[in-house]
Amino acid sequence: MFAIPLDLIVEILCQLPVKSLLRFRCLSKEFRSMIDDRDFIRRHHNACLQTNSNRRIIARNNEGTTLFSLEFDSTTNVIAAAKILDVPIQNLRFGFPVIGSCHGLLALSPMDHQGHITAVLWNISTNKLRILPRIRGDSGDLFGCFGFGYDLASDDYKLVKIFGNQSSTKVIVYSLRADSWRWIEDLPDYCYFYSFHQQRGTLVAGTLNWMGQMEIESRESRVLIISFDLKSENFRNVPIPDITNTNLGKLGIYDINDLGGCLCLSCIDGCEQVVDIWVMKEYNVKDSWTKLFSFSYLLTNIYVIRHDLKKGKDEIVEAIRHDLKRGKDEIVEVEKWPYIFSVTIYVDSLVSL
């Protein structure tokens, strides 16, 4: 009978899905504390990221009433049939706008029966849920921007809500450790959000990023990225690429994404009917913006960008999948593919709520 030493047991456990680990907490007291340990949880999640395992796409249908989970097979790159997710929240209606996903926690902003927006955190893999406390003085306005991410310095998860209009913008931050909200300094008034309608922040390099605008002269404004540093809790502007195009008037930023840890912009050119994908290889360095490729937006209106760490390749997944290395598009067949409104990449974890 050969006995595996503890360090190798940890290696083996790191390669297991969350469901198996939740079961193996019953093995013994030692196993339970090992699996519940924060360092182990971090290692396990990092192992999932490294091997591209336990990863799925969370998609929301156009009406926002249903969330779907699309599981990836990392070896074959096949997307399994879309599965409807059973969100464990009662007394809520009007669907589940997704704020973001970080370390296996999905942040949602559903609306209750009184029409108030609440925020919830849900670990899909452990099926634990936390409903965030109500914000005092918050009317539950639909017009708010959200963002969700992790701050390494305080080892804390933060959810940011930004309320406002073009003249004033208020910011409030929720801390998971403290389980409470606190107001922070307002957004500088020279810039404002592109849209306050539930725009969600993109988490990159410890910052949340939204599309914004800045007045440069009367009646003229410039598109920019508003970035919130999760550690310092300060806002700043991140430069966008100099997009020179003869059809400038019809060119717009369409979406902000995370591509392999880099900020990624999708710009749409209405005349050419193409979407250009830009990546900022080094965060907040304007010269590092690189145009990766373009595709016809008639092919697709929503897509997922994913980065395969192991193989070092980036891909766009949707009805088309773009393989950056081979520079070709493939049709991805998905059974029961919903008419999708928005998508989020989610990686399983044991992070507790």
Binding site: A3, L8, Q15, K19, S20, L22, R23, C26, L27
Partner: protein
């Protein structure tokens, strides 16, 4: 896999060029003569020969923590990978590697697998160790608590009440588990 790759070192090599061999002695006293590039995949062997200037080709390196049975398994893997490496980059035999690895572990019992993990750890062959721990994970992934306790040799120190409470906490995690 063809027998030329998996052949034991004790059988005479038919290759025309004479390769440098390294002698490795297992815990039960058997001496393996291993082709140098294969032996050098064993980090413990590589550093032994790199760090000791007074060792010669005739030096027999003792490996007291590895049995003959485990050594056969280790060498089968390392030889196959040396063969794959030699063919690179012309043929990137990803599928072939996968097919070899699948066949390689299918024949091993849990005890054999664990012995190989311990040997790969001691010999410091990180690629093989990663592969074997992955195989172990796949083997227990969908198994019951009792099966995995036996696999790791773990004693259950919960009272029946404690265990029942733990199971209740994530009841759904106990559904759809394979028969032992």
């Amino acid at each position: 896999m063809s027998s030329s790759i998996a052949s034991s070192s004790s059988s005479s090599s038919s290759s025309s060029k004479k390769e440098k061999k390294i002698s490795l002695k297992t815990s039960d006293g058997e001496v393996f003569e291993v082709e140098e590039p294969v032996a050098m995949q064993l980090e413990i062997v590589r550093s032994f020969f790199a760090d000791n200037e007074d060792v010669t080709e005739q030096t027999v390196m003792p490996l007291p923590n590895v049995s003959t049975a485990a050594m056969h398994g280790i060498l089968e893997y390392c030889r196959a990978h040396e063969e794959f490496r030699r063919r690179m980059p012309e043929a990137a035999p990803e599928e072939e590697v996968r097919a070899f690895e699948a066949g390689y572990v299918d024949r091993k019992s849990n005890e054999e697998l664990k012995e190989m993990i311990l040997a790969a750890n001691y010999l410091n062959i990180s690629k093989l160790l990663d592969f074997l721990t992955g195989v172990a994970a796949k083997r227990i992934e969908n198994k019951s608590v009792e099966y995995v306790r036996a696999f790791f040799g773990v004693e259950n120190d919960f009272t029946p009440e404690e265990e029942a409470n733990l199971r209740r906490e994530y009841e759904w995690a106990f559904e759809g588990v394979d028969e032992d």
